[in-house]
Symmetry: C2
Subunit: 262 residues, 2 copies
């Protein structure tokens, strides 16, 4: 049993491309349809109702492109919209794989940084506690990290000052592991590492999500044939030269981008 149809991936913008790149590395035969909902980003400050509506539209758009499964590569949408979500294909988020990655390395004290809406939803806290109830978990919303990255100030003294303020309570709590609960945050790793020091492990969900997707495809008999030549297509809801440039860099191959209204 095999299935040559593509995997759908969406994020509010470019952040989920790190997940798409991990999927391409882990599952080189699989085709990908990536949707960046750049016209409505950011999701991280918006209400559950609104994020749920956008998630339904985005999943519907990908299902219309005949995908066999959808990866919600946005932490906020995974946190706010997947509980009880119904679709005609499997829909997988990034929170559970991220929690798995943290559990694999922590010695008991975990910090979670994410958008306001992800923290308010408590999704990582729930996923981590379910796996290990005695964990000591400290959460911090970091509302300015995405705008700072978008401004291109990812390795900048202002960003470092902002990060020191956000991370102070987590360092006071003596965390040993820090979950990067937003797909934008891996580009901040140089700054974050300087602040938390080499004893704190930084965890993001891209690689563990790719691993979970590989297992999910196998379990559902949805893997592409082993001789399948993949084709990737990228869509964005805002016009997006910048998006195309970043996507080519993150995915380490030229990409074609199509502007769509979802």
């Amino acid at each position: 049993m095999s299935d040559p149809r593509p995997i759908g991936v969406f994020d509010s913008g470019v952040g989920g491309l790190t997940v798409a790149a991990a999927l391409m590395d882990r599952l080189p035969n699989e085709s990908i349809r990536y949707l960046g909902d750049t016209a409505r980003l950011p999701y991280g400050t918006k209400s559950p109702t609104t994020v749920q509506r956008y998630t339904e539209k985005n999943v519907g758009f990908l299902i219309d492109r005949e995908v066999k499964a959808v990866i919600v590569a946005c932490n906020t949408a995974s946190a706010l919209a997947l509980d009880g979500f119904h679709a005609d294909v499997p829909v997988w988020g990034v929170i559970e794989p991220g929690a798995d990655a943290a559990i694999a390395v922590t010695r008991g004290r975990v910090g979670v940084i994410a958008t306001e809406s992800t923290i308010a939803a408590g999704a990582y806290r729930t996923a981590l506690s379910r796996r290990r109830p005695e964990l000591d978990i400290h959460s911090q919303a970091c509302g300015l990290f995405v705008p700072l990255v978008e401004e291109g100030w990812q390795d900048d003294e202002i960003t470092e000052t902002v990060a020191r303020r956000y991370l102070a309570p987590l360092l006071d709590a003596d965390i040993d592991t820090l979950v990067l609960g937003c797909t934008h945050y891996p580009v901040l790793i140089p700054v974050l590492s300087r602040i938390v020091g080499s004893d704190v492990r930084l965890v993001d969900s891209a690689a563990s999500t790719a691993e979970a997707v590989a297992e999910g495809l196998r379990a559902n008999q949805l893997e592409a044939p082993s001789d399948h030549r993949p084709e990737h297509h990228f869509f964005a809801t805002d016009t997006a030269e910048r998006f195309a440039r970043i996507a080519s860099t993150v995915c380490r191959r030229p990409i074609t981008l199509e502007h769509v209204d979802v």
Copy 2:
């Protein structure tokens, strides 16, 4: 001739409430329908095509509420979407009144700060140059100001550091007037004043927009009857306790807020 129908006002979020409050002060008989497009904010990083689509939807929503005119109380939408815009009622933006306010006070060297998209569109430069071609105009996009205000850090040392970086080229150019080309920026006046000093005049468009609307209603015989008791209604596209609270404060009266899908 008089017309009791309400005036429509929209912004991407809460910023335009300063314009709504100025309208209530200047035109106390006029009813207002205010739409905050909070589900799709911010507009300031998005493309002209997308901002035009949102503007059309928002104006259409307000026209369905039987308004007699629409005020686009968002600088980005005014800059990107009003050129050649067609609607069944007059549609007025905030750029032209803002330019009038700057011309009234400048001695010849004007700085303009606004979102990326407003600066890229060059709307203030065009409006100012048309009024006084010999003006020396210096523009600066300030992408982090809106997120800093949203974070609640409007009077904060980090915000001051960010503002010093953005404003340095304008101060080097020895501006005498600074146009606040985004309706979020008036809350940053304490920080901005400390940086530019008392010799630089800060100009925002709320009061001059209200004056222009008063003239426009008179010229089009659309003024409400002098004994008209106004009623104001507020709509937001994201669910919005925070919005309702801010709206009550800015407009200095209790407001009712309705959640709508536009």
